[in-house]
Amino acid sequence: MSLRKTWAVVVKEMRHTRRGGSMLILVLIPLLVMIVFSVALAQDIKGVSITVLDRDKSALSRRFLMTLSNSQDVVIGREAQSYGQAEGWFDRSLIKALIVIPPGFGETLVGGGSVAVQIVVDGTDPTTAGHVITHVASRSQAFGIEQAMRTLGRTAPVGLDAVPIDLRVREWYNPGLRNLNGLVPAMLAIALTLPAINVMSALARERELGTMEIVFATPLGRGELLIGKVLPYVALGMISAVLCALAAVAVFKVPFRGSFFIYLALCLLFFLASFSMAMVLSIFIRTQAVAILGGMLVFIFPSLFLAGIFYPIGSMPPEMQMESQMLPATSFVAITRGLMIKGQGLDSLRNQALILLGSALVYAAISIKLFKKRV
């Protein structure tokens, strides 16, 4: 194993990326993918307008509506004069949600009774609908408890324990369950699987050009060739890793609570694992077109759906769980989330890091075993 020969391959590979004008593109693509995916998949729904049909028009009903729009999640939009009018607005897709306050709302509540408030939502947009329902339900509950306490307080002075259950949700690590905080680190992990596709494409390129055949006929060792070809992409990948972390913090305001140094070290480990996997796949691939398509199929899509970003790994069928664990992205998603949002250190991330190290070694061993200097 000669460092000098390995370096010759590195220099050559760097020249290819620079000549193709692709070095900048290679560095920026993961950043763009992270930003686009994060923006597109962000589910923080803000400022949904709710139409109101207030048949009570009492002080209490006004206060109830105020409570609903206290946060920025929903705003109280236009006011309907009749049920029929609101129905027409739904039909013409002018509104998505309607809240109907029955007559006698205020009086009943003051009297200590219970009232039914109706929410009507446009079911063709389940995401917004679900959001409105959850929001209104939780606000109404809070309003109801507050109101009950006032009523009770007026008749008999009792303490807090008069209300049987006081459910207080505490969202650890991510107060307010800010969706982006979970999403952006995961998309960062997905975006950093892209450099593995570059590795596959670079190896396929040599086969396509026929230069692989010539290089095989020289004393250049397999290790020198593979390491030399992969190293430049590790370097470019690390630059992407830094840019993506900066963008997560600066653009998406995601906290970065862990150590940046550990982040870089684990990114490196992740590249070693995913690039080794790419090398194994490259043994069976002869053209760049197949390398790029195959790389997307193997790296991006399974990582998106199997790495536990949208669906918890625990609820997948056992064989899918196994496949999920074989993907370096699965461990890496856990690492980026844990490191950025929870501020985990190496002691907490040890298992994931060990899985990455293990798969790097296994895939590298397979590729060295299978990669032959034969055409």
Binding site: S2, R4, K5, W7, A8, V9, V11, K12, R15, H16, R19, G20, L209, G210, T211, E213, I214, V215, F216, A217, T218, P219, L220, E224, K373, R374, V375
Partner: protein, 332 residues
Amino acid sequence: MSSNEHRNQVVISTTNLTKRFRKVLAVDGLNLEVRRGEVFGLVGPDGAGKTTTFRMLAAIMNPTEGEATVSGFDTRRQAEDIKHHIGYMAQQFNLYPDLSVEENLIFFADIFDVRGAEREARLERLLDFARLTEFRNRRAGHLSGGMKKKLALACCLIHEPEILYLDEPTTGVDPVSRREFWDILSSLHARGTTILVSTPYMDEAERCSRVGLVYEGRIIVCDTPDNIKGMIEGEMIELRPTSATLFGVGRMRQAREVIKVLDGIREVQMFGDLLHVFVDDAGRRAPEIERTLQRHDMGTEGTRVTSPRMEEAYISLVRRQATQEAEKVEES
């Protein structure tokens, strides 16, 4: 070791070398010996198994059966040892088109561990040798066909190998560059480099020390160009048939058909608007041929007796081989 013994040393040797791809038998029990300092030509039609042979001898493809040794090393078990001794130029353009002439050379120098002042010296020498000095900064992809071939050759030579494998190095190259390329090979030959070269061009085959005629994965004849030409017995009459009524291929076919059946005629080959007639005795047969053509209302022009060239010899030998093979199939 005396220089004579040195010269006669066998550097490439194959025994029953065979390569089978699923159903295709690309190389079929090839036996070959190339001696040090020879320019050995592998001549044969496309698909005869020349490229597969090169790959096996470059130790980048394992034979299905048989074995080969290069510089005393076994291609299967000592592949990496062989690679220090050979320079392999594949048939397709096999350099990095986005790297400059110089960068390509430097890459190959580096992976062969040619360093420092030695590297610079060889670089200059090879650029000069291949007449590429003024194009040193041009990207390889922007070179002309002939220059690409010369650069590929220069890249094979950077480690000064004792054996050169050149797989159809001049295919698709203009005649002037072709001549130039062979002049370069001649000077390498003069320095003692062993060259194994495949070519579809017979004029190039004539420049080899020995030639192996490859047909369907086997070497059917292996000898010096002179001896191969001598294998066609008798003499060759070259003539141009003329006719007032028949034109083009029709005329050529008609002339061939009537000549073929005459006494003492071994073979008739069409060559453009010329016929090459192989006969036992030119002095006796030439007048008979002219008379026969006249009887069929045809004349002749530019009749002359020449000795057969490689081209005629090759066609004749391949044809003979094909006939034998057909007979063998019929027998079985």
